[in-house]
Symmetry: C2
Subunit: 691 residues, 2 copies
C-alpha cells in the first residue's frame, strides 16, 4: 500500500484534502492551546471523517435530536477534537470559541466526548471498547424500532450507525462481546471504521496485538473490507458504498498513519497523546500548505464543510415522509413520537400497571424471593409497556427477567427480551446504546457478583444519566452452595458508591414493586435492583407504606418507649424484625427501619432523615455484606452486623448462622450496647475460622 | 459427525468408557446428594477427561505441589464435580467422604473449585473466562521460567497447561483478551479443550453465540483442531498428539453432548445446573450399565484410574533430572527452588533494596508525583528482584511501571515487563495465573478508573490469597483534563470494600516506598497502590515514620492542646497539613493523621486505633473521592470532605478548587464544627452547579 500524501492531493480531491486538513489543524491547535489532549487520532482519521461526514452521513446540524439521523460514535474517544472539529464545521451549535476552550472547565469541549454536554455528541466515550458496544446497542434499537414501526412504503425509521475505533477498542474484551452479538443479530446498518495505524500508547502494537482482525470479524459474521488506504478518498468512497450494500455489520479496515500531516510525529506513539509543540505545528502547517491562523477557517473551506443545507434537505424529506406516515397510521405515529421523545416519561398504562403491582404485592403478603416478586411486577408492567426491552446475560431462568408473553430476541429475529449470552459488560454497554438511541427502556439481569464484570458500564449509565435498569439477583450468601465466587459481599455497597446510581435492595414483594416503580420513573440515572434467590417473609403493611418505601428508608416497627433502632435492608429486614421480637420479650422496645435504598434516603431532607434514624436511639445496622457504609447511620456508639470476608459454599441457612446474620446475635448485640459495653470489641463473633 | 454412544463402547476402549462413566456417575450422584450443582458438564466432558488424565497429564497425586507438573484448569468451573472425581480417582488426598459432602460447609468439595481448599486444584474458577486467562498466565510463567532456568540437556521446567472451557468462557470478553495474548506470545504448551455442546443456560447457543470459534482462534494465531468427537477416545488421542506437535497454543474443538449418558436430559439446558433426580439417575445407570451403588467404585475401575504409580515414576524421573541440573548448575538450581517455593518470601537483596528505597525517599524529601516515587522504588527493587514481572495495560509511560534495565516482553520474546496491551481484566487474570504457577512476582498498572474493568480479577486475587500487586495511577480528579470518564471518584473506597485487598494511597515518596515494601511483603493477598499523576509535597519525616506508615495510619502532626484531628490520605494529606497551619494561625491546634492504608489500620488493635484517632477530638476526614467509608472514623459529630459526584474536564488545580478540596475549606469546616454547628447542613459548599 502506498500512502497518498494528503498535502499533495490534487484535482477533484484537492478540496477534500483541504477539508480534511482543516480537521487536522483544528485538532493540533486546540490540543496545543490546552497543552493537553490527543492530536494523533484526529490527524490520522481526518480523511476518513471527511469521506463519511461530507458525503454520506445523514444528519441535520440544526436539530441534533432528529430521530432518524445517522448515529456517529467515536469509540476511540481520546480523538474528541476530531468530533468537535466536525461538529463545529458542519454547523452544530458549537462555536469556535468553545474549540479554543478545549479541555477547560465547563466548556462544551471536554477532554473526552460527553453526551448531554456538546450538541451532536451521541455518547460519552473514552473508556475503550464501550463506544463500539454503545453503537451496537444503537443499531439494535434502530433495527427493532424499524421492525415495529415501519410499514410498506413508510420507512420512517431508517438510519445507520457509524463508529470510529482503534486498536485499543479492539484489544478490549468488550469489543468481542459486542461485535459477536452484532454479527449474531445481523445488524447490517452498523458500519465501523478501524483506524489501523499500528500504534498504541506503548508503541508498535505488533508486540502485544497479533490478531488477524479481519479474520476475527469474519468469524463474527461481519463483512470485512480489508486494507483500505485511509488517506485515499476514492478508496474510502468505494468502501463506504460497499458497506452500504452489505447485509451484515461492516468493518472497514483503514490503514492510516497516526498524526498524519506532522512531518516528525506522524507514525509514532508520540503523536498519540501530547501537543505537537510550536515548532512541529509550524512544520505541519507548512507540510499541509495551511496558511490560516489558529482557529481561523478560510471561507471556502467553511462553506464546503457546512452541512446545514444538506441536513435541512434530508430532514425536510424525512418530515414529509413522516407526515405521510402520520396520515396513514396516526396511532403508530403518535406512539413512535411518544417512544422517541427525549426523556419520555412512563405512559399512563405503565403507571397503572405499576400501581397494580404495588397494590397486589401489599395485598397478597406473599413470602417469595424478591427475584420472583420482581418477575411478578414484570407480569404487570411488561404487557403495558411496549418500550420495555428486557434481557439477561444467560441467566433468564435465574434472574427471572422474562414475563408471560415476552418475545425472546435471538439470532436475527426481533423481540423484547434479549438473550445477551454470557456477556455482562456487553449487556450493560449495549443497553446504554439502546437508551441513547431512544425508543426503548432497556433492563438486563445477571448475578450480583458479576456486576463486577459490567461495572464500568454501570458507571457510564450513571455518568450519562441514562435510566437503564440493572436486575442483579442472588444478592448475598443467600445464594448458598455456589460458594464465594458467586456470593456478593461488597457489591451492594460498591454499587452505592458510584455517583448517580440508585441501588435498591428490597425486603419483600411490596418493596420490590416500589423499587421497580421508582427505578422506572427515573429519567436521569440508572437503578440497580438487588434481589434474593431465597424466599423472604412479607415485612409489613399499611396504606402509606408505598410512599414511605419510595423515600429510601422508613420505620417498619415503632413500639412505645423505643431504646434501640435496628436498620436493615433486603433479606436482613426479616432478621431485624425477629430480633425486635426477641428484645420485646426482654422488655426492650426496638424500632425497625427498613432501608431499601440508601441513595434515595440520603437525598431526603435532614428532618426526615433524623426522624427515621434518631440519634438518641442506640442503633445497629444489619446487612449481609460490607459494613463500611453503615457507620454513617449508626454512629460510633452503635454497631454494624455484616460480612467483611468472603463467603463459603454451603446451604444458605447454614451460612446465615455461620456469619452471624441472625436475630439472636442482633438481639445480643443490642443488649450489650444498652448495657454500655463498647462496640466492636465485646461482640461474641461467630466461629469464622478461616480455612 | 456420529456420536459414539459411550454405553456400547467395546474392545480396547471398553475400559476407557467405564473409567469415563465412573466420572459421570460420581458427578451425578454427588450433585444428587447435595441437591445442588451441575451434572451436565462433567457428564459431557468425561470422555475428554479420561483421555487427558489417564493418558497424557503429567502429575503426581502424592505431591500436588510438584513444580514441573502439568497444570490443569477447569475454566467452566461449575463442572467442579468432574475435577473432584478426577482428583479422587487419580489418588489425591481427597477421600470419597469429601465427595459425599459436595457443596457442604467446610468440605474439601465446594461448589466451585477453590485453590488452597482442595489438593490438586490449581485455581479458583466459576466466574467465566477467568480460568482460561489464569491458564494463559500459567503457560506464560512456564515459558519464562524455562527460558530463564533451563540449560541445554537440562529441561527442568517443561510442562504443559491444559484447560477445559465452554461456551460461556468463550462469550466472555476476557477470553478475547487472554487468548489474543496467548497467540501473540506463542504459548505452544497451552492446550485448551472447548466443550462445544451447543448449550448454555438459556438454551441453544445459536440464538446468542453465532461465532465461528475456530476461525476466531486462528485469527489469534492458535492451532485449531476442529470437529473432534468429544466422545471418541481415538479421535481425542489423535487430537492431543497433534496438539503436542503444535508450535502455537492449541484449541481442540470437541463436539459433545451436555449430560451425556442421561437418556432424557442429555443435550438439553436442563442438564446444566440441577440434579437429575432419582428416576433419571436410575435410567442413566441402566443406560451406562453401571451397577455399583452411589460413591462405590469397582476395584478394577479404581485401579485403572490410580495415577500414583505413573505419577511417582514421572516425578522420580524429574527428580533425577533435577539432581543432574543441581550438580551442573548449583546456583541456578538453588535460585529456581527459592523462586518456586510456595509462598516464598522476599530475598535479602529485595529487602535491602526496599530499605534503601525507603531511606532514600525520606532523605531526599522530594516533591514528586507518587507514580514517579513508585518508579524510583522500582529502580531499586527491580534489579534486586529477578522474580519481579512488571507490566502495564498499554500505559507504561503513564503508570511508570518500568525501570532502568527492565526487559520489555513483546511478541514471542521474553522479558520482565509485560506489555499487556489495552486489556485490564486480562492483565489481572493473567497475573493471577502467573502467581498461581509460581516463580514470579507479578505486578501491573493501569489508570485507577479502569480498575473497574479488572475488578473481578482483583477480587479473585483476594479470594485466592494471591499477593499480586496492582499499580493504579491517576488516582483522582488530579488527573485533570481527561475528564470524568478517566477521573476516579468511588474507586479507592470500592477497592477497599473487597475483602483481603490492601489499598494503599500514599501521600508522598516515603509513604510510597513503604507501601511497596508492605505490599511486596504480603504473602496472602493482593495490594493496590493508588498513585497520583501530579506532584505532591513531602509530608513529614522522622526515623520512626517508616514503621508508623506500615501500620496504615499514623500521626503526622501533633501540636499541644489539640482540639481537632484532620484525617487524610494521599494527595489530601498536604491539604490537611496546610489546613492545620491555617488553624494554628487562629490558635486552633489540629492534629494531622495520615491514613495511607485504611485496611491495614483497621487490623491494628483498638488501643492503637484510638491512640491515632481519639474520640475526644473533633474529626474531619479529607479524601478526593467517595465520603462513605470515612464516617466510621470521624463519627456523627465530625465531617467528611470528599467528592460524591463525577468529575469534570479541566486543569487539576481548578478542579481541586471547584470540588472544595482545599485547605481553606477544611479549616472553615473545622471552625464551624468547633463552634458547635452541626455537620453537613452548614457547610458553605463550593459552587457545584451541575450541567
Amino acid at each position: 500500500m502506498t500512502m497518498n500524501p494528503t498535502s499533495v492531493a490534487s484535482g477533484a480531491n484537492a478540496l477534500r484534502a483541504t477539508c480534511a486538513n482543516a480537521l487536522r489543524v483544528l485538532a493540533m491547535d486546540a490540543v496545543q492551546a490546552a497543552n493537553s489532549g490527543h492530536p494523533g487520532m484526529p490527524m490520522g482519521m481526518a480523511d476518513i471523517a471527511e469521506a463519511l461526514w461530507r458525503h454520506h452521513l445523514k444528519h441535520d446540524p440544526a436539530d441534533p435530536q432528529w430521530m432518524d439521523r445517522d448515529r456517529f460514535v467515536v469509540s476511540n474517544g481520546h480523538g474528541s477534537m476530531l468530533l468537535y472539529a466536525l461538529l463545529h464545521l458542519s454547523g452544530y451549535a458549537l462555536p469556535m470559541a468553545e474549540l479554543k476552550r478545549f479541555r477547560q472547565l465547563h466548556s462544551l469541549t471536554p477532554g473526552h466526548p460527553e453526551v448531554g454536554v456538546t450538541p451532536g455528541v451521541e455518547t460519552t466515550t473514552g473508556p475503550l471498547g464501550q463506544g463500539i458496544a454503545n453503537a451496537v446497542g444503537m443499531a439494535l434499537a434502530e433495527k427493532l424500532l424499524a421492525d415495529e414501526f415501519n410499514r410498506p412504503g413508510h420507512a420512517v425509521v431508517d438510519h445507520r450507525t457509524y463508529v470510529f475505533l482503534g486498536d485499543g477498542c479492539l484489544m478490549e474484551g468488550l469489543s468481542h462481546e459486542a461485535c459477536s452479538l452484532a454479527g449474531t443479530w445481523g445488524l447490517r446498518k452498523l458500519v465501523a471504521f478501524y483506524d489501523d495505524n499500528g500504534i498504541s500508547i506503548d508503541g508498535d502494537v505488533k508486540g502485544w496485538f497479533g490478531d488477524d482482525t479481519p479474520g476475527r470479524f469474519e468469524a463474527y459474521g461481519w463483512t470485512v473490507i480489508r486494507a483500505v488506504d485511509g488517506h485515499d478518498f476514492d478508496a474510502l468512497d468505494r468502501a463506504i458504498a460497499a458497506a452500504h450494500a452489505s447485509e451484515k455489520p461492516v468493518l472497514i479496515c483503514c490503514r492510516t498513519r497516526i498524526g498524519q500531516g506532522s512531518p516528525n510525529r506522524a507514525g509514532t506513539a508520540k503523536a498519540h497523546g501530547e501537543a505537537l509543540g510550536a515548532a512541529e505545528i509550524a512544520l505541519t502547517r507548512e507540510a499541509l500548505g495551511w496558511t490560516a491562523a489558529p482557529f481561523e477557517i478560510p471561507a471556502p473551506v467553511a462553506q464546503a464543510w457546512s452541512a446545514l443545507a444538506r441536513g435541512a434537505a434530508a430532514h425536510g424529506e424525512w418530515r414529509e415522509r413522516f407526515a405521510a406516515y402520520e396520515r396513514a397510521y396516526p396511532d403508530l405515529a403518535r406512539e413512535l413520537l411518544r417512544r422517541t421523545r427525549p426523556a419520555a416519561g412512563l405512559s399512563e398504562e405503565t403507571e397503572a400497571a405499576l400501581a397494580t403491582a404495588c397494590a397486589d404485592a401489599e395485598r397478597l403478603r406473599a413470602n417469595v424471593a424478591t427475584r420472583k416478586a420482581s418477575q411478578d411486577v414484570l407480569q404487570e408492567v411488561g404487557p403495558a409497556t411496549p418500550e420495555l426491552l428486557g434481557g439477561s446475560a444467560d441467566l433468564t431462568g435465574s434472574n427471572l427477567t422474562d414475563w408471560k408473553g415476552h418475545r425472546p430476541l435471538k439470532g436475527q429475529g426481533t423481540g423484547n427480551h434479549v438473550h445477551y449470552g454470557v456477556r455482562e459488560f456487553g449487556m450493560a454497554a449495549i443497553m446504554n446504546g439502546v437508551m441513547l438511541h431512544g425508543g426503548f427502556r432497556p433492563f438486563g439481569g445477571t448475578f450480583l457478583t458479576f456486576s463486577d464484570y459490567a461495572r464500568n458500564g454501570v458507571r457510564m449509565s450513571a455518568l450519562m444519566k441514562l435510566p437503564v435498569v440493572y436486575v442483579f439477583t442472588h444478592d448475598s450468601i443467600g445464594l448458598g452452595e455456589d460458594g464465594p465466587t458467586h456470593q456478593p459481599v461488597e457489591h451492594a455497597s460498591s454499587l452505592r458508591l458510584i455517583p448517580n446510581v440508585d441501588v435498591w435492595r428490597p425486603a419483600d414483594a411490596t418493596e420490590t414493586a416500589v423499587a421497580w416503580r421508582e427505578t422506572l420513573r427515573r429519567t436521569d440515572g440508572p437503578g440497580c435492583l438487588l434481589l434474593t434467590r431465597q424466599a423472604l417473609p412479607h415485612a409489613g403493611d399499611g396504606t402509606r407504606r408505598l410512599d414511605a418505601i419510595a423515600r429510601g428508608a422508613y420505620v417498619l416497627r415503632r413500639p412505645a418507649g423505643e431504646r434501640v433502632a435496628l436498620l436493615a435492608s433486603g433479606s436482613e429486614v426479616g432478621v431485624a424484625l425477629a430480633a425486635a421480637e426477641l428484645l420485646a420479650a426482654d422488655g426492650i422496645a426496638a424500632r425497625v427501619v427498613s432501608v431499601p435504598c440508601m441513595d434515595v434516603f440520603e437525598r431526603q431532607d435532614a428532618t426526615y432523615r433524623r426522624h427515621i434514624v434518631p440519634r438518641h436511639l442506640v442503633r445497629i445496622a444489619i446487612e449481609a455484606g460490607s459494613t463500611g457504609l453503615w457507620w454513617k447511620f449508626v454512629g460510633e456508639d452503635g454497631d454494624v452486623i455484616g460480612i467483611d470476608r468472603f463467603g463459603e459454599s454451603a446451604p444458605a441457612s447454614e451460612l446465615f448462622r455461620l456469619f452471624g446474620i441472625t436475630a439472636d446475635r442482633v438481639a445480643q448485640r443490642a443488649r450489650s450496647l444498652l448495657a454500655g459495653e463498647t462496640s466492636r470489641t465485646t461482640d461474641a463473633a461467630p466461629a469464622l475460622a478461616d480455612r
